[in-house]
Structure formats: structure tokens, C-alpha cells
Symmetry: C2
Subunit: 206 residues, 2 copies
């Protein structure tokens, strides 16, 4: 789009917003003009929150999740079960699992999955530090909660090979029909897996 | 969603992003975590562009469009026809008309339309300054290019009554079937108007 902006300041702000994922030039213009209508202190607060996050946010020394302190609130919580580690790709996934209220262990954020196509090799991920945590002997179970993709499966297998020498339980989150889904519309691979990995029925629904 | 953020800095930035129109909490989290992965100088540039825009952007003394100078590039351009004023609601509309490459006159940005429901009265809009521009006697035509809504029509009528005493041509942009649209799917009001306002056919397609 060969759009001529009446102001270089406007154009600059729009182009900065346009760098965000999923924000095109039109949406960026709309967002920037919305910001322009707000009070100066509100705009400064918005800008400050981003710069402060970037400058001051830390990554937990234990699990590599984002944190305001050296050790994140989950890793430093004595009520959590430190013998169970849930391995996830990123911080959003930590929040997603936390939202389920079904997990009381701790986490390990890999920072991605092995993906030769995107140039991500095992060395780019926090896999070594996971092995170090397991090597302390204090870990009883590692739950692999990565995406159900080729890259996720590759990463699962890589970690499996690295951890197989340790006396721990290694599990992977269940893959099957989503709760609320109708069988008719499920893809055959998911349905196939859900039959292979069927679980004993105890008469209770989830 | 009762989402617990592992960092107060993260939560603050997400809540600031969530104030933008059309950005929910989930999208805000995605955008903020994307920003967190960028270099510090990129993040600062992003934040600076917004604060600078808010602090330094001016509004053109003539047409009230955004500008880096007291008079915007369009109003100060001697090649534009200053005897024709196109009245629009906001800055986006100036850019939209400019993109058509069909207009060589100047603009007047009202800053909205009359909307008693939203508490917007004529006094809140740049209508007086439009009348002042017309009163100089240098304007030959005013083109009303407001939204085709009840509020747009009300504003058109209000401006019409204010300008009727001056010896100028007052026109409104054509309303009809959009180029590329099929009649079958057009709403009946638009179709009705497009029949009433039919234009002489000269054998040329647009």
C-alpha cells in the first residue's frame, strides 16, 4: 500500500507497530491514532511499561520462565512439588498449564523446540540445564508438554534419549479428542492415537 | 480469565496493551512476549516513537489534520486547489481519500460526527473553523465526505444549514453500489439510492 502519511512522526509510530506479529499497516494506523487521542501520561505509562519489562524482567535461574526475581514465584514456592518437572516450550505454555489448576509441580521452559528448518538446534534450547536438574537426583518425574507437531515430537525424542540413563518416570501429556469435540469431526490421526492410548474407565466423567 | 502472571512487569505491559482497541488479553500477551524477545534498542525505538508522536505531533491550523508543522503538507502545497474543501471525520479518512489519487483540493477534519448518543455535539467538532474558512470568500466548493450513517447524515445537514448563506457549491460524495459488487447482494436502501442518484452514462466504464 503506497499510503502517504501527513506526518513523519505518525508514519514512524505506525511502522513500529507494524513490526508486531499479526498487526498490518491498517491496524497499526488505527492503534496509533487511538493512542494519539489518549492523555500524555497514559501514553507515557504505556511506553514505560514496555521498556521497563525489557530492561528489568529476569529469567528464572531454575526454570527459565520470566520473573521479577532471580528465582520465579513457582520455583521458590515450597508448596509446589519440586520432584516433578513439566517441560514446556515457552512462557505462555507455563501460564496455560497454570490456568488448568491441575498441576502442582514445577516447570522447565525450553525456549522453543528443535526445528532444523528454522535453524533451531538442541544447543539453542535449555536442554542441558534440564538434564542438570534431573542429574541432582531430586527429580522423580519429567512430563513432556510440547506441541503435538513434528518438531515437538523430535524434541520429545531428543530429551527422552538424554534422560533415559536416569532413574525417573518420563511421561508425555495425553493426546486425544478435545473435551467437547464430536468424533465425527476429529482428524483420523488424533482419533487413532486416542484409541491406542485409551485409558481405563472408572465410571467417572472428567 | 483469571490468569496469574509470573511477573508483575509482564502483567503491567500486558494490561497496557490490552487497553488498545480490539486487543484482548491473549493477543496482548502474545505481543508483549514478542517484544520481550527483541533487542533492547528495538524496544526503546518502539516506545520512543509512540511518546514522540504524542508529544510532538501537531494539528494543522487550517484543516486540523495531523502534521509535523503548523500547516500540514497538503494545506501548504501551492499545487493543491485551495478553493475546494473536502470535509471528513478523521485523519484516516484524509489518508483514504488521498489514496484514491482522485482529489486535488484541500481538507477539513471535523474530529468526528454529531452524535447525541455519544455526547458529541456540534460544538465538539471543528465546524466553526470550517465556516470561517468558507467566510473568507476563497472557497468555491465544499464536498461532504462523511460516513453514510445517521450521525453522518445529521452532520451533513447541520453543515448544510450553516453554509447555505454562502455562495458556494455544496456536494456530498456519491452513495451507491460499490465497484465490484453484485446487485443481488446489495442492500435495498443502497440500491434504491443508486437508482435515484443515477448518473448519465457516457459509454465509458470507470
Amino acid at each position: 500500500m503506497n499510503q502517504e502519511y501527513p506526518s513523519a512522526l505518525l508514519e514512524k509510530a505506525v511502522s513500529e507497530f507494524g513490526k508486531l506479529p499479526g498487526i498490518g499497516r491498517k491496524t497499526a494506523t488505527r492503534l496509533v491514532l487511538h493512542i494519539l487521542r489518549r492523555k500524555e501520561e497514559e501514553v507515557t505509562a504505556f511506553a514505560d511499561s514496555i521498556v521497563r519489562l525489557k530492561r528489568e524482567a529476569k529469567y528464572c535461574r531454575e526454570c527459565h520462565s520470566i520473573s521479577d526475581t532471580d528465582i520465579c514465584p513457582i520455583c521458590s514456592n515450597p508448596l509446589r512439588d519440586h520432584s516433578v518437572i513439566c517441560v514446556v516450550e515457552n512462557i505462555q505454555d507455563v501460564m496455560a498449564v497454570e490456568n488448568t489448576m491441575q498441576y502442582r509441580g514445577v516447570y522447565h521452559v525450553l525456549g522453543g523446540v528443535i526445528s532444523p528448518m528454522d535453524g533451531v538446534s538442541p544447543g539453542d534450547l535449555h536442554i542441558d540445564s534440564l538434564i542438570e536438574r534431573v542429574a541432582t537426583g531430586e527429580v522423580k518425574e519429567v512430563i513432556l508438554a510440547l506441541s503435538s507437531t513434528m518438531e515437538g515430537d523430535t524434541t520429545n525424542f531428543y530429551i527422552y534419549r538424554k534422560l533415559t540413563q536416569y532413574n525417573i518416570k518420563l511421561s508425555v501429556i495425553a493426546r486425544g479428542i478435545s473435551v467437547g469435540d464430536e468424533l465425527e469431526y476429529a482428524d483420523e490421526i488424533t482419533l487413532g492415537r486416542s484409541i491406542i492410548n485409551r485409558t481405563p474407565f472408572t465410571g467417572k466423567t472428567i
